[in-house]
Amino acid sequence: MDLRFSDEEKEFRQEVRRFLADNLPDDIRQRTAEAIHASKEDLVAWTRILNRKGWAVPHWPVEHGGTGWDPTRLYIFQEETQRHAAPQPIAFGVTMVAPVIYTFGNDRQKKTFLPRIANLDDWWCQGFSEPGAGSDLASLSTRAVRDGDHYVVNGQKTWTTLAQNADWMFALVRTDPQAKKQEGISFLLIDMCSPGIEVRPIITIDGCHEVNEVFLTDVRVPVANLVGEENRGWDYAKFLLGNERTNIARIGTSKLRLEQIRRSATKQMSGGRPLLEDPRFREKLLAIEIDLKGLELTQLRVVSADAKRGNTGRPDPASSILKIKATEIQQATMLLHMQVIGPQAAAMNATDMEHADLMAHQPEFASKAAARYFNGRKVTIYGGSSEVQKSIVAKSVLGL
């Protein structure tokens, strides 16, 4: 047992830091640190910088453009980019649909889609959840009926994150209504420009337009855009969800948030002294930092086990623990950040992400702390709610 990073790993971390220092534009970094999401323009710009370096999709297999880094280096890269406020890739393309395409897709699909995902030429959204299928995803009812070379798709998807930016959607659709509910589902790639698609915004409690409803009415999808086999979509979806484990904890982002909290707490005065000098405040801050330290080591244990044994591609119960604990910590940082800002956090700003660029000129007290706190209530809900994760742990780890 040796909990230190090797010299080569330390050097790699320095290399990533140097690259970020030299290549991450300052304005993008500042906007990303403050924003709830990076803007589309910033993310596209940064992705292309990364892609020129060959670092846009490091976790992909080398033959499709990956870097061949081991899990430890992938982790270091993620941590550093998060901590230095580089725009984080939207998972839907690079970590969700792409692995499904390169694992189960045909050659034409690989050739068509993968390079465009890596360069963010195509923005992807996820068509999984439906009004009647949230945590119980397999009960989805969007129908796809074969008609010659096409499927005709009818139904409604919801909570579709950033569908307003999307060029493509990967969707779970029901192709066999007679089969058991998990067995009649297929995985389709749908062009968002297709006639019959309507995207309606859902404004969340933070005032943001982040998620949408997507209505599909007689949308014709070429059969060529079916991934893998018909009615095997549930298997691909499980594979997709199991791939999320390395970045589920977002350690670097929480570290960035804690640094912001410390900085704010040196400026905010309370009882004639900086808040950071108040022992009661320090206790709250330290409790989160310590929790994060523990989580980081848990994450590194998973990373190290992956490095040794190789990712099996199956959902690992460890990712459930990471999700449960990491989202608690993320929410704790968002709450504390708002509390540090204090009464001035009450002012509502133009939090709509399309106006994110306006925020760069605002002083810190007018930051998005409260909006981020409200927005952050989602993290224990999406991607399998904490309650779902606890049921997974109970079943697959504890055998209950």
């Binding site: 047992m1 040796d2 909990l3 230190r4 990073f5 090797s6 790993e9 430890t72 570290k255 804690l258 640094e259 410390r262 022992p279 009661r280 320090r282 206790e283 330290l286 409790a287 930092e289 310590i290 929790d291 994060l292 330290k293 523990g294 989580l295 980081e296 080591l297 848990t298 590194l300 244990r301 990373v303 190290s304 086990a305 040794k308 623990i321 449960i324 604990k325 309650e387 994760q389 606890k390 049921s391 742990v393 109970a394 079943k395 780890v397 504890l398 055998g399 209950l400």
Partner: protein
């Protein structure tokens, strides 16, 4: 990075595990506990035979050259068995004083005796007024010829009643600028002027209040520099805390296992209570807490090697804070999920809960360490 144990560590872990599963059943433990001294001589000899008592000491001193991780591995297994023998007091507390504060002569004289099980030690650092403050020392040491005389009262000296010799902290002068000059002395338990009041603690172990009335200490039994021994005491306590974290982790692991097993066999409302989601989720939360505690135990153990004393102490404080909190959650949940049976002396789970709780009270509970961290410049980024 590598989180796996070495082959030797796995062998060590398995062989202690086998010994204890053989000789530390619930019934046998009760039997040992009811003996006069409250633990088993036979097991103590077994530990010596296996090299457990020699493990942490350098090979040139007669030890096995074990590492910080080795002690962690051993202590987690011992924590699973709730052992009663004075291993922690002798090998961890006393052993750390020898390793970090002993001169070559002192180590040569004492380490072999500890290693073969002939010498049992205790570490007396707390006083009735001191709470967890290692620097709050009213016990006095005064120079007398070549040696010293120690007078004062120490409390909750773990396994003080079993010890042949006791390390004692004592002030060697007056407090100035808020700093008390502290010395560390090794006293014979049978020396004139030593009075030992031995008692049971809630976890079934023993502790003692020890009074020293002008007890003579020879020059060869002074450890560290008189008046400047507080950093040594702090280091000993830091190492002890890291080991306690591992022991607590062992106890937490067992509480989770016992609880999960019980949920599967206890039938109510026509089937096992494991099918109830409220109970499943509480058990899952216990699992998350155990894994967090495991990570923090690793953190404390890894940081013992830090060349920076403050960084080391802060890491250990963070771990003790975390283990105290997670351990209480796991323990209270284990009792809750067992229901009435968990409240009884007849069931094992309560004994783990009590050990866990006593560990929180040893060398600073979670509130104490959090307050200390908040008073320092500690940060964990």
């Amino acid at each position: 990075m590598d989180f796996d144990l070495s082959e030797e560590q796995n062998i060590l872990k398995d062989s202690i595990g086998r010994l204890l599963s053989d000789k530390y059943s619930f019934e046998k433990r009760r039997h040992y506990q009811q003996s006069a001294k409250g633990w088993s001589d036979a097991l103590w000899s077994d530990y010596a035979g296996m090299g457990l008592l020699a493990l942490p000491f350098a090979e040139e001193d007669g030890g096995l050259g074990g590492s910080d991780v080795d002690r962690m591995v051993v202590s987690e297994v011992l924590g699973k068995a709730l052992i009663l023998e004075p291993y922690f007091a002798t090998v961890i507390l006393g052993g750390s004083v020898l390793r970090h504060g002993g001169t070559p002569e002192q180590r040569a004289r004492l380490v072999p005796q500890v290693a073969e099980g002939a010498l049992k030690l205790a570490f007396a650092c707390l006083e009735p007024q001191s709470r967890y403050d290692l620097g709050d020392v009213e016990t006095r040491a005064e120079q007398a010829g070549d040696g010293w005389r120690v007078t004062g009262k120490k409390t909750v000296v773990i396994h003080g009643g079993s010890a042949d010799r006791i390390f004692v902290t004592a002030r060697t002068g007056e407090t100035a600028d808020g700093k008390t000059p502290v010395g560390l002395f090794l006293v014979d338990a049978t020396a004139a002027g030593v009075a030992i009041d031995d008692y049971l603690t809630h976890d079934g172990l023993r502790a003692a209040d020890v009074t020293f009335d002008g007890v003579a200490v020879s020059a060869q039994d002074v450890f560290g520099t008189p008046g400047e021994a507080l950093p040594l005491v702090q280091r000993v306590v830091d190492e002890a805390i890291a080991v306690l974290c591992a022991e607590a982790l062992g106890a937490m692991t067992v509480m989770l296992d016992l609880t999960v097993d019980y949920l599967k066999v206890r039938n109510q409302f026509g089937g096992p209570i494991a099918r109830f989601q409220a109970l499943q989720h509480r058990a899952s939360e216990m699992y998350v807490a155990v894994e967090q505690a495991r990570s923090m135990t690793l953190f404390a153990t890894a940081m013992l090697a830090s060349p920076d004393d403050e960084e080391r102490s802060n890491a250990v404080r963070a771990a003790k804070f975390s283990i105290g909190r997670e351990g209480r959650f796991v323990g209270e949940s284990a009792i809750q999920l067992h229901g009435g049976i968990g409240m009884t002396m007849e069931n094992a789970v309560g004994h783990y809960f009590k050990r866990m709780t006593m560990i929180d009270l040893l060398f600073g509970d979670s509130d104490h360490h959090m307050a200390a961290l908040a008073d320092s410049n500690a940060r964990f980024g």
